[in-house]
C-alpha cells in the first residue's frame, strides 16, 4: 500500500469507527428515552405500564381540583370527555393551571391506576389547548359516535 493510500484508509477507518460508536450510542439512548404520549382513554384502556413514564394530555375536569392543606400536593382528574384519569401532583402548578384548561402531564401510573405526575405543563395562553388534547377529545367523540351508531342502527 502506498503511504497516500494508507493515510486515506486510516482516515476512513477513524471516521467509520467514530460514526459507528456515535450511532450506537445515539440509537441506544434514543430507544431508552422515547416518551410516549397517551390520551386518558388510552390510559384507561391499559396502554401505559405502571412505573414507566409517559405523557398524557387532557382537560382538568370541572370541580375535581382538591388541594391537601398546608402542602403543595394537589389531586385532580384529567379527562378527554370520555374517560378520566386521577392525577396526584406535588409541586408548583403552572400559571395557567385551572379547571377546564387543557394541560399535559408527565409521570407514571402507580399500582392503583393513579397517575403520579412529576411535571404539569400549560401553555402561556388561556385559549390555548394542547393540540394533542384537542385531537384526543375529537377522537374520543368520534369513537362515541361510532359506537352509538353501532348499538342503534
Amino acid at each position: 500500500m502506498t503511504p497516500a493510500r494508507r493515510r486515506r484508509l486510516f482516515i476512513v477507518l477513524v471516521v467509520l469507527v467514530g460514526v459507528g460508536v456515535a450511532a450506537a450510542l445515539g440509537l441506544t439512548a434514543f430507544r431508552k428515552n422515547i416518551l410516549y404520549y397517551y390520551t386518558p382513554s388510552q390510559v384507561a384502556a391499559g396502554a401505559a405500564q405502571p412505573g414507566r413514564p409517559f405523557r398524557m394530555g387532557g382537560l382538568v375536569a370541572m370541580g375535581s381540583v382538591q388541594r391537601v392543606p398546608g402542602t403543595m400536593t394537589v389531586h385532580f382528574t384529567l379527562t378527554d370527555m370520555q374517560k378520566s384519569v386521577p392525577i396526584t401532583y406535588t409541586g408548583i402548578l403552572p400559571d395557567l393551571f385551572r379547571e377546564g384548561q387543557g394541560i399535559v402531564v408527565h409521570g407514571s401510573l402507580d399500582g392503583n391506576g393513579d397517575l403520579i405526575a412529576d411535571e404539569v405543563l400549560a401553555k402561556h395562553d388561556e385559549k390555548y389547548m394542547p393540540p394533542e388534547v384537542a385531537a384526543a377529545i375529537k377522537k374520543a367523540k368520534e369513537q362515541q359516535d361510532a359506537s352509538g351508531k353501532a348499538t342503534n342502527p
Binding site: N33, L35, D95
Partner: protein, 654 residues
C-alpha cells in the same frame, strides 16, 4: 398610507432582487462588464427598499395603527414604546420581514466590502444573495404579508405576548437572525466559487471573515436566548433541548465545524469538498430552523397540515436551494484539485476529528428533533424525545471533543510531533488533573464523578488556551520580535470561552440546589447556607399589568445580602399570567426565587434555587463571541487583491 408604501417597497425590492440575481449570476458567468457594473447599485437599492419596508412597519407599530392586522394582533396602546418596536418581530410575518431586512444589511455589507474581490466573483456572490432574497420576498408577499389591512380597524390591539416584553428578548431575534442569515453569505461564497470553478486557499481566506462574523452573531443570539429563558420562563433552566432551541443550535454546531474546516482550506488547501458541503449544510440548517420555528409544525403537525401554505413554501425553498447547490457541487467537484497531504498525527487530522464530532453531534440533535415530527406526520404514534436523550448522546460525544480542543492548536500542520506537543501541554495536563482530583472532594454530591470529569475537561481546555498567548508574551519580554496573529488570539479566547461554558454547565448541574417549599409570611428557610425570610405579599401596578409581589429578606450567617421581590403578573389585555422570578446575581453564584401558587391562609408555594457558576455559561458564550470577533478582524483578511496576487504560495488556480 405608510403601510401601503411599505408594501410597495417590498414589491420593488422583489423586482430588484430578481435583477440582482440575473445580473450577478448570468453577468458573472458571461463576464459581461456592463451587467456586472450595475450589480452594486441594484443590490444597494434592493437593500434600501427592504429596510424602508421595515421602517414602515416599525412606524405603524409606534403610532399604534390598528388598521394593520399584524399590528392589531401584536401591539397595544399601553405597550411601552421600546417593546412596540420589538413587537415588529414578535410573530410570524414581522420576523420574516426582520429576516429579509437582515439579509439586506448583509447584502449592503458585501456590496461595500467586496471591492477587493475579482469582479466576476463578487458579482456571483451578490447574485446568489439576490436569489435568496427573491425566494423570501415571494414567500412574504404570497403567504405572509405583514402590511395586510384590517377593516374596520381594531379599537385596541391584542398586545404582545407578555413573556416577550423583555430587553433580552428584544435583541435575541435580531442577533440570532444576523447569524442565521449571515451563513447565507458563506453559502453564496461557496456557490460562487463552484460557479467559477475556483475553489482554493484564496477563496477560503475571502470566505472566512464572513463566516466568522455570522458565527459570532449566532453564538451571541443563542447565548441571549439561554439567558432569557433562565430569568423569564421563571424556573431557572438555561437550556431545554426544546425544538426551537435545537433549530438554532444545529446550524451553530455545523457552522462551528465550517469555521474550523475553512481554516484547513485556507492554510493547507485541503478539505475543499468538505468545506463546500459544510457551507451548504449550515445554510440548509438555517433554513430548516426558519421552517421549524415559523411553519407551525412544532405546535402540531396537524395545525401545520391544516394550513400548510407557509410550511410547504419554505420546504420547497429549502429543496430548491439545497438541490441546486448540491447539483452544482456534483458537477463541479471532480474539477477541484486535491489539497496537500498530511500525516496521521497532524493538525489536519485533529481538525478532521473536530469536524466529525461536531457533525455527529448536530446529526444526533437533528434526529431527536425531527423523529417525533415524522412519527406524528405518518400517524405512527405521538411521542417526544426529551432532555435525557440529548444528554445521553451529547455528553459522550463532547467529552473527547474537548480533549482534542486542548491538543489541536499545539500540533503542527502536515506532520506533527507527538513529543513536542506533549512537552508543550504537560503543565496544562497536570493542572487539569489536579483540578479534577480536587473536585472529588464533593464526594457527597450526586454525580460527583461527572463533576470531576467536567472540571478536568474545562480546566484542561482553559489552561491549554493560555499556553500560546503566554509563550508569545514571554518571547516578547525577552525582546524577540514575534508576531501574534489576531486570528490565533481569537482562537485562544474562544477556546477559553468553551472551557468556561463547560465549567458553568457542570458545576451548576451537579452542585446547584433547587427546593420547592410552602411558606407563610413570617416563615424562614435555609437553602445552601442562605436564609430566606418571607415578609409578605402586596399588590403592584405596572404599565400594562397588575402584579402580586412577594418580599423576601436574604441573609447569610446573619449578614443581610439582598431583598428579593418575585412577582406574579397579570396582563388583562391578553388574559395572561406570568411568573417574574427575583434573582440575586453574582459572578460565582445566583440565588433564584420564584413565586409558585397562592395556597390557603396566605401561604405560597415557592421555588428557591442556589445556582453556582451559572453565569459562566453565558460568560463562556460571550468569550466565544469575542474570540470570533478578534479572529474576523485579523488584518490578513483585509489584504488587497494586489497583495494576494503576489503571493504565489497560496494561489492555486483550478
Amino acid at each position: 398610507m405608510i403601510p401601503e408604501l411599505g408594501h410597495l417597497a417590498l414589491m420593488l425590492a422583489l423586482c430588484l432582487a430578481a435583477a440582482q440575481a440575473w445580473f450577478g449570476i448570468v453577468g458573472g458567468q458571461r463576464g459581461d462588464a456592463v451587467w456586472m457594473s450595475v450589480i452594486r447599485p441594484v443590490a444597494t437599492l434592493q437593500a434600501l427598499f427592504v429596510l424602508s419596508a421595515f421602517v414602515a412597519l416599525a412606524y405603524s407599530f409606534l403610532v399604534s395603527d390598528f388598521s394593520v392586522q399584524y399590528v392589531a394582533e401584536n401591539s397595544n396602546v399601553l405597550l411601552p414604546w421600546p417593546y412596540k418596536i420589538t413587537a415588529v418581530w414578535g410573530a410570524h410575518e414581522g420576523s420574516l420581514l426582520l429576516w429579509v431586512s437582515v439579509l439586506g444589511i448583509w447584502t449592503l455589507a458585501v456590496t461595500w466590502l467586496s471591492r477587493h474581490l475579482p469582479q466576476e466573483f463578487a458579482a456571483r456572490v451578490l447574485g446568489v444573495l439576490g436569489l435568496i432574497s427573491l425566494g423570501f420576498y415571494l414567500f412574504m408577499l404570497t403567504t405572509s404579508d405583514p402590511f395586510t389591512r384590517l377593516l374596520p380597524a381594531a379599537e385596541q390591539g391584542r398586545d404582545l405576548n407578555p413573556i416577550l416584553q423583555d430587553p433580552a428578548m428584544a435583541i435575541h431575534p435580531p442577533m440570532l437572525y444576523t447569524g442565521y442569515v449571515g451563513f447565507s453569505v458563506a453559502f453564496a461564497f461557496a456557490v460562487a466559487a463552484l460557479l467559477g470553478g475556483r475553489m482554493d486557499a484564496v477563496w477560503a481566506r475571502w470566505s472566512r471573515p464572513w463566516t466568522l462574523t455570522a458565527w459570532l452573531f449566532l453564538t451571541f443570539g443563542i447565548t441571549l436566548g439561554s439567558w432569557w429563558s433562565y430569568y423569564v420562563l421563571g424556573w431557572g433552566g438555561w437550556w431545554f433541548w426544546d425544538p426551537v432551541e435545537n433549530a438554532s443550535f444545529m446550524p451553530w454546531l455545523v457552522g462551528t465545524a465550517l469555521v474550523h474546516s475553512l481554516a484547513v482550506t485556507e492554510k493547507r488547501g485541503a478539505f475543499k469538498n468538505w468545506t463546500v458541503l459544510l457551507a451548504i449544510a449550515t445554510f440548509s440548517l438555517s433554513l430548516l430552523g426558519t421552517f421549524l420555528v415559523r411553519s407551525g409544525v412544532l405546535i402540531s403537525v396537524h395545525s401545520f397540515a391544516s394550513d400548510p401554505k407557509r410550511g410547504i413554501f419554505i420546504l420547497a425553498m429549502i429543496g430548491v436551494f439545497v438541490g441546486a447547490a448540491l447539483t452544482l457541487y456534483a458537477w463541479r467537484a471532480p474539477t477541484l484539485a486535491r489539497g496537500g497531504g498530511f500525516q496521521p498525527f497532524s493538525r489536519e487530522t485533529l481538525l478532521l476529528l473536530n469536524n466529525i464530532f461536531l457533525v455527529v453531534a448536530a446529526a444526533s440533535v437533528l434526529l431527536g428533533t425531527l423523529y417525533p415530527l415524522f412519527m406524528d406526520a405518518f400517524g405512527l404514534g405521538q411521542l417526544s424525545v426529551g432532555p435525557p436523550y440529548f444528554n445521553a448522546v451529547f455528553i459522550p460525544v463532547m467529552a473527547p471533543f474537548f480533549i482534542l480542543i486542548g491538543i489541536g492548536p499545539y500540533v503542527r500542520w502536515k506532520h506533527g510531533d507527538p513529543k513536542t506537543t506533549a512537552r508543550t501541554l504537560r503543565i496544562a495536563a497536570v493542572v487539569a488533573l489536579l483540578a479534577g482530583i480536587l473536585s472529588l472532594t464533593f464526594i457527597h454530591a450526586a454525580g460527583f464523578l461527572g463533576l470531576a470529569a467536567g472540571v478536568l475537561l474545562a480546566i484542561w481546555t482553559g489552561a491549554s488556551a493560555f499556553i500560546e498567548p503566554l509563550t508569545r508574551l514571554r518571547q516578547r519580554m525577552q525582546g524577540r520580535n514575534v508576531s501574534f496573529a489576531r486570528a490565533t488570539l481569537g482562537m485562544c479566547v474562544a477556546h477559553f470561552g468553551a472551557a468556561l461554558l463547560v465549567l458553568g454547565i457542570t458545576v451548576t448541574s451537579v452542585l446547584g440546589v433547587e427546593q420547592d417549599v410552602v411558606m407563610r409570611p413570617g416563615d424562614s428557610i435555609t437553602v445552601a447556607g442562605y436564609d430566606f425570610h418571607f415578609d409578605g405579599v402586596h399588590g403592584v401596578q405596572g404599565p400594562n399589568y397588575t402584579a402580586t409581589q412577594g418580599v423576601f429578606q436574604v441573609s447569610k450567617d446573619g449578614a443581610p445580602i439582598a431583598t428579593l421581590r418575585p412577582e406574579k403578573r397579570e396582563f388583562a389585555s391578553v388574559g395572561n399570567e406570568t411568573t417574574e422570578a427575583a434573582i440575586e446575581p453574582g459572578l460565582f453564584r445566583d440565588l433564584y426565587l420564584a413565586l409558585g401558587n397562592s395556597l390557603d391562609k396566605g401561604a405560597w408555594s415557592l421555588r428557591v434555587q442556589y445556582k453556582p457558576l451559572v453565569r459562566f455559561i453565558w460568560l463562556g458564550g460571550i468569550f466565544m463571541m469575542l474570540g470570533g470577533l478578534l479572529a474576523a478582524s485579523d488584518k490578513r483578511y483585509r489584504r488587497s487583491r494586489e497583495a494576494e496576487g503576489t503571493d504565489p504560495a497560496t494561489v492555486e488556480q483550478v
